[in-house]
């Protein structure tokens, strides 16, 4: 090994390593200076306005406003914190239902897009191009407009068997009312489901050894649900149904899906399903054609080929962009205020902010909540991604 040539002392600027370090230091300083400026600016403006920073308003003051969709008990004398919680639950409801709908629709349309049938694949193509190329806010307003303008007034509501009603004030469905025996039966059912899952897992392991299908799952399900029903009947319980009734201006009783919820959830699912369909198509196309041929040659049916060979491998491609679609859906749900759906942004980031004048605190909280939801979801999807990757290999 030849001795290192003694380097002539170079100017600092021409030393590559040193220059790299200097640049990084500069960037860090700039970032900190910007942060310091922002915080300083806020502090100075707060001082100038004689404002304080604090979250006391959340539990010290009554909210004083009503919320039209609440899944937990709430009235206008509860605190702003409670109101924010109602909003958060409304956001979560749209997120969960929207994601499920978007996934089902997206996988369905994505598969249609690959159909050999010309008409089916064209239809799917138009669906995808329409949904993902229109602004989501427009879609929300469109669906809300359609719902409230085309459906009849409650007094002329479309009724299905006098139990289900469709009107521009919402969809009314009967509400099951359970009494005491139900919780016991529910517990039995839950225990049974857990048991069957364990047995099923055991069976799958056994199959890997014996290559023999263990059909425990199907019979087990019948037994478990049957048992729960028997227990429920034995407890002498019965389910009564509370049907919606037109009283005065609106339907009372039953469960109500307000048009704002339906329009928002559906518009978000509609919009997102276009993206998911394309992800699904990309994922399936990423699997070599030979895999299908091989599976078919082994005698697997078309359905089992898709289920056992193609999809498990395609999922590895589908999941990362699917995560982004889910996150987009959740974040887009903050457009709820456009049609008056009382989500987190409309309650904490809207009315509470306005009534209390706590812009900084309310907005920080809203951002923090969205960040937490998104990071949790992303974390779960990453975990799932790692899992299917192992299965796939």
């Amino acid at each position: 090994m030849p001795p290192k040539a003694s380097r002539a002392p170079r100017s600092l600027w021409r030393d590559k390593a040193l220059r790299a370090i200097a640049l990084q230091v500069l960037v860090i300083v700039a970032v900190f200076a910007a942060a310091a400026w922002l915080i300083g600016n806020v502090a100075a403006n707060f001082a100038a306005l004689d404002k304080t920073f604090g979250f006391g308003f959340l539990w010290e003051l009554p909210a004083n406003y009503d919320i039209n969709q609440k899944l937990i008990d709430y009235n206008n004398q509860n605190t702003h914190l409670r109101a924010a919680l109602v909003g958060l639950i409304n956001t979560a409801l749209v997120g969960v239902v929207g994601i499920i709908l978007a996934t089902v629709l997206g996988f369905f349309v994505g598969a249609m897009r690959l159909s050999d049938n010309w008409l089916v694949s064209r239809l799917a193509y138009f669906y995808v191009e329409f949904t993902r190329n229109t602004p989501v806010l427009l879609l929300i307003l469109l669906w809300h407009g359609i719902l409230i303008n085309t459906l009849p007034h409650p007094r002329q509501a479309i009724s299905l068997g006098d139990s289900f009603f469709l009107s521009n004030r919402g969809f009314y469905v009967p509400r099951p009312v359970f009494d005491t025996g139900f919780s016991v039966a529910g517990a039995v059912l839950a225990a049974g489901l857990l048991g069957i899952w364990l047995v099923h897992r055991q069976g799958r392991r056994a199959r890997e050894v014996t290559t023999k299908n263990q059909r425990v799952y199907r019979y087990g399900m019948v037994l478990i649900i049957g048992l729960a029903v028997v227990v429920y009947a034995a407890a002498g319980a019965q389910i009564t149904v509370e049907r919606p009734l037109l009283r005065g201006f609106n339907f009372q009783g039953g469960l109500t899906l307000i048009p704002e919820f339906v329009a928002l959830t559906w518009a978000l699912a509609f919009y997102t399903s276009g993206f998911i369909a394309e992800n699904v198509r990309a994922g399936i196309l990423a699997i070599d054609r030979g895999q299908t041929d091989a599976a078919r040659a082994l005698g697997l049916t078309r359905r089992r080929t898709m289920k056992l060979v193609i999809l498990p491998q395609a999922m590895r491609v589908i999941i990362p962009p699917l995560t982004s679609s889910y996150l987009d859906l959740i974040k887009n749900s903050s457009l709820a205020i456009a049609i008056g759906y009382m989500d987190l942004v409309a309650t904490l980031g809207g009315i509470t902010l306005n009534q209390t004048g706590r812009e900084m605190e309310a907005m920080l909280l809203v951002m923090l909540v969205y960040l937490t939801i998104s990071l949790t979801l992303a974390g779960f999807m990453n975990w799932y991604n790692r899992r299917v990757r192992l299965v796939g290999q």
Binding site: V29, N45, N68, F249, N250, A338, Q355
Partner: protein, 337 residues
């Protein structure tokens, strides 16, 4: 380098926080930044030429006339009930003239300064005649359209709680959205200030098909708002309002203001119109002809009311509480002395 960044940061900091002297800022800028409604017939709506006009817009113009002698030197910002206070407090606008109710919490906790009342209003309900409702007490179980971020939202909750009634709220952002939801039948009733109801009703295809219920469930004194802690600026806005009201009291209108300034005998009129010296005027930085500029270009309070809201407009609102005190109303300007 670090010093340069810090220095730059400090300068930016200083420039963004120095907004104490609103009057000086407005003068230096050469125009007034005024926050108005996103569209409410009679109060703030664009005319055929796309120029904003209305009761609240005219107040912005009056302040501009007082400051610059030119009522056109205003830049308007359209604000919803939700965005208005943030816009004012952040300095995006100098003056908020947008059907804003003067309340304790807004005055104190939100750190706003209400310079006075230019419209005494109250919350009412509007329904289609077809619905057959005669009183607000009949509204148990009704769906109600309501603008979020307003006092009406809180009054409504109170009213139904006190009367042990329930309702379904349909929250919306602007009065045009309220109208479209109401007309589509999404709600049975629309509630807002009575003046807003008159404006909304006038904007429907057949105003006669709708009725305003007799109950007025709240006091809504509406007035111009400025940021708290800038008394000089608040004084300019407050006395512009007082000049408008006083001018009507003394029968000084846009047509006779020049003549009055020469011929009036009443010492208060002479002080208002700059014929005699008004102590403190120059300290506020107002010109000798400030009141003449306001009245000749915008008119007095009565003229503004008649032009935008009065009997000869589609709104057809009677003066009622907004008449001069000598006519049995509540409009009363402190003396110009």
């Amino acid at each position: 380098m670090r010093k340069v960044i810090l220095l730059a940061a400090c300068t930016m900091w200083l420039t963004t926080t120095a907004n104490a002297g609103t009057l000086d800022n407005v003068r230096a800028r050469g125009h007034l930044k005024c926050g108005i409604n996103t569209g409410l017939v009679g109060f703030a709506s664009p005319n055929d030429q796309g120029v904003w006009r209305g009761f609240d817009v005219d107040f912005c113009r009056a302040v501009a006339a007082a400051l610059f002698g030119d009522a056109t030197k205003v830049k308007y910002t359209n604000l919803t009930g939700k965005t208005r206070f943030t816009a004012l407090r952040s300095g995006e606008i100098d003056l908020l003239s947008r059907n804003t109710t003067w309340t304790f919490s807004r005055d104190t906790d939100l750190q706003l300064t209400f310079v006075g009342v230019n419209y005494y209003d109250g919350q009412g309900f509007m329904a289609t005649k077809k619905l057959g409702v005669k009183s607000a007490k009949d509204l148990n179980g009704a769906s109600i359209c309501i603008q979020t971020g307003t006092t009406t939202e809180l009054n409504l909750a109170d009213y139904f709680r006190v009367n042990r009634m329930t309702y379904q709220s349909v929250p919306i952002e602007t009065s045009s959205e309220a109208l479209s939801n109401y007309l589509a039948g999404r709600c049975d009733v629309y509630t807002t200030d009575a003046s807003g109801l008159a404006a909304t009703r006038a904007a429907t295809d057949s105003p006669a098909a709708h009725m305003v219920l007799p109950e007025i469930i709240s006091k809504e004194p509406l007035g111009p708002v400025v940021r708290q802690g800038d008394d000089q600026w608040a004084d300019v806005v407050r006395w512009t309002l007082n000049a408008l009201i006083a001018a009507e009291e003394f029968d000084i209108g846009s047509t006779n203001v020049e003549k009055m300034s020469r011929e009036a005998k009443n010492p208060e009129v002479r002080r208002l119109l700059g014929t005699e010296e008004l102590q403190g005027r120059s300290a506020l930085g107002l010109s000798k002809t400030w009141a003449i500029d306001i009245i000749s270009q915008v008119g007095n309070y009565g003229e503004i009311f008649a032009r935008n809201l009065g009997k000869d407009t589609p709104l057809g609102i009677a003066r009622g509480l907004n008449a001069q005190w000598k006519d049995g109303g509540l409009m009363y300007a402190p003396p110009f002395r």
